[in-house]
């Protein structure tokens, strides 16, 4: 087995093609762009979430106000406040 494996020592060193470095730089740049795009997407998602929570709260507050007004009217009517 050792004899068979010794043939592996005859494998020569191979030079690195020039294109590897330029492709590497391209890959790094595209990775940077992707990460900034990811940041923008995350920011947009958070803003949407905040806006929808705001809208929900405004809606809830309006309902609370109107239902309070109705309650007050019922209270006024039942207590004869309107009769005066």
């Amino acid at each position: 087995m050792d004899k068979k494996l010794n043939i592996l020592t005859k494998i020569e060193r191979v030079e690195v093609p020039e294109r590897v470095y330029s492709n590497l730089i391209q890959k790094i740049e595209s990775k940077k762009n992707t990460s900034s795009l990811n940041f923008l997407l995350k920011a947009a998602a958070i803003s949407l979430l905040v806006i929808s929570i705001d809208l929900y709260l405004i809606d809830k507050f309006n309902y609370f106000n109107t239902s309070n007004e109705i309650n007050y009217e019922i209270y006024s009517l039942s207590n004869g406040l309107y009769e005066k």
């Binding site: 087995m1 050792d2 068979k4 494996l5 010794n6 043939i7 592996l8 020592t9 005859k10 494998i11 020569e12 060193r13 191979v14 030079e15 690195v16 093609p17 294109r19 590897v20 470095y21 492709n23 590497l24 730089i25 890959k27 790094i28 990775k31």
Partner: protein, 174 residues
């Protein structure tokens, strides 16, 4: 980009590319691994603790990236194989991995390819031991440092690798 990454690249490009080539035996795959290794080196150089040399660290990253690459390639091949089974039952051929190591001289090509065919069937640790000891011609001590194991463990791994290789070789000859 400042000058430091370029200096690092120039210093270790050959090491990284050749080790990746020993794992994949294919230029395109080795190029892809080399790029991934250097991205990882540039990203993590700040966290590099000088417990080992930069060279040993580069070896470790290259080995891990090469093994990850081969694992994902194997997974993809399996998916394509099952897809082809669904599409056409008659076309079920298991593709033999293509070995095209540019560092092998023509007269040795046949015998080296036969050995590579067997090495590719070994578990990752055994394959790494063979690559480091036999192709990279590292000493047992250096191999132990790179693989973060003891010299005794390397000895035993190498013994197991040879035993397994001879079984696979015999199987292939049948």
């Amino acid at each position: 980009m400042n000058n430091k990454p370029k200096i690092l690249y120039e210093k270790y490009k050959e090491l990284v590319f050749n080790v990746a080539l020993h794992y994949t035996q294919n230029i395109e795959d080795a190029e892809e691994i080399t790029q991934d290794v250097f991205i990882s080196i540039f990203e993590n150089i700040k966290d590099f603790r000088e417990e080992s040399t930069l060279k040993t660290w580069a070896y470790r990253i290259t080995i891990n990236k090469s093994l990850d690459f081969l694992k994902s390639k194997k997974r993809l091949k399996r998916i394509f194989f099952f897809k082809s089974l669904k599409i056409d039952d008659q076309e079920k051929k298991i593709s033999i991995p293509e070995i095209n190591h540019p560092g092998v001289i023509l007269e040795n090509k046949e015998s080296v390819n036969a050995i590579f065919n067997c090495i590719n069937k070994l578990p990752p640790k055994l394959k790494t031991v063979i690559i480091l000891l036999k192709i990279e011609e590292k000493s047992q001590k250096e191999t132990a440092k790179i693989m973060q194991l003891s010299v005794k463990a390397i000895e035993s791994l190498f013994h197991r690798a040879k035993k397994k290789l001879s079984i696979i070789l015999k199987d292939n000859e049948r």
